[in-house]
Amino acid sequence: MDNTERKLKKLFDYQKFEKEPGLQELVDDVHGSLSGMRKLTDDELEYAAAGAARFSDSQLEKAGVNIKYVNGKKTYQATLSGGKSININENVAMGMYDCYNLSGGTKLTDAQLKDLIAQS
């Protein structure tokens, strides 16, 4: 990584702390234009304010989450032991990574995944 890249990463990391409004608007615009993001409902805002975790696609994939973009919208799937894929929501996807991380890198069994879905 060269000096420019290093400084840029540092500035963006500082932005995660400082949340300068002009730059944050630009970042949000980029995210919004790519994901077809809609305006959040009050329930979703409350959830986000409570501190919902955000992980990168590669982190989620390590935990066994399959990520696809359908019409610009991010969708999540998990694969059961028999090879069948099931659709899951973002909470379950994040929960899969949390469990993967806590267990030191072990993916969920089918039973654990079903429990997680039931709880979400």
């Binding site: 990463k9 500035l11 990391d13 702390f17 300068e20 630009l26 970042v27």
Partner: protein
């Protein structure tokens, strides 16, 4: 400024920043407690001529997150730039770490094309690899790489045109 005022002014910022870095809310809360203990301990040494308060608080927060992962020997989870800090204890970039520079960065980014801007934000803000960006944007890998290189060239010019401020340095914690 006393630590209570720092808590009132910076608690939400610190918690939100740390929460983005760690998976579990409980870990984030523990790290925030550590940060405020460090701020309380180091406040008598704080010199406003050497670092803006926000930069100083941010640096302590960032280093505490790094220490958290280092203690768990979990450096795989760190983003590249934080992982780099494990090896380097001295940093001379604090002169560019202020709101004014962030505002100027936004202005510089607006001069890029939409695709260049998207690639730069996704790679350097979100930490996505170029391969992840390919999936996310629908651009080919070659196109992502081209947009990255051209966007980075503009960013290099922006950063090299920034005059250095004297006297600021990163606080070692």
């Amino acid at each position: 400024m006393d630590v209570e005022k720092i808590y009132l002014e910076y608690h939400d910022k610190i918690f939100r920043y740390v929460r983005e870095k760690v998976g579990l809310k409980e870990d984030a809360e523990d790290i925030c407690s550590d940060i405020f203990l460090k701020l309380q301990k180091k406040l008598p040494e704080y010199n406003s001529n050497k670092a803006a308060m926000s930069t100083w608080v941010y640096t302590i927060a960032r280093n505490t997150v790094i220490d958290f992962y280092r203690t768990r020997h979990d450096t795989d989870e760190l983003s590249d730039e934080l992982a780099g800090e494990l090896a380097s204890e001295y940093d001379t970039d604090s002169e560019i770490m202020d709101r004014e520079t962030l505002s100027e960065l936004a202005a510089a980014l607006r001069k890029l094309t939409d695709e260049e801007r998207a690639v730069i934000v996704l790679h350097y803000y979100d930490g996505l690899s170029l391969a992840d960006i390919e999936k996310r944007t629908g651009l080919s890998y070659g196109q992502v790489k081209l947009r990255h290189n051209s966007g980075l060239k503009s960013m290099k010019k922006f950063l090299s045109d920034k005059p250095a401020k004297k006297g600021f340095h990163i606080v070692k914690t």
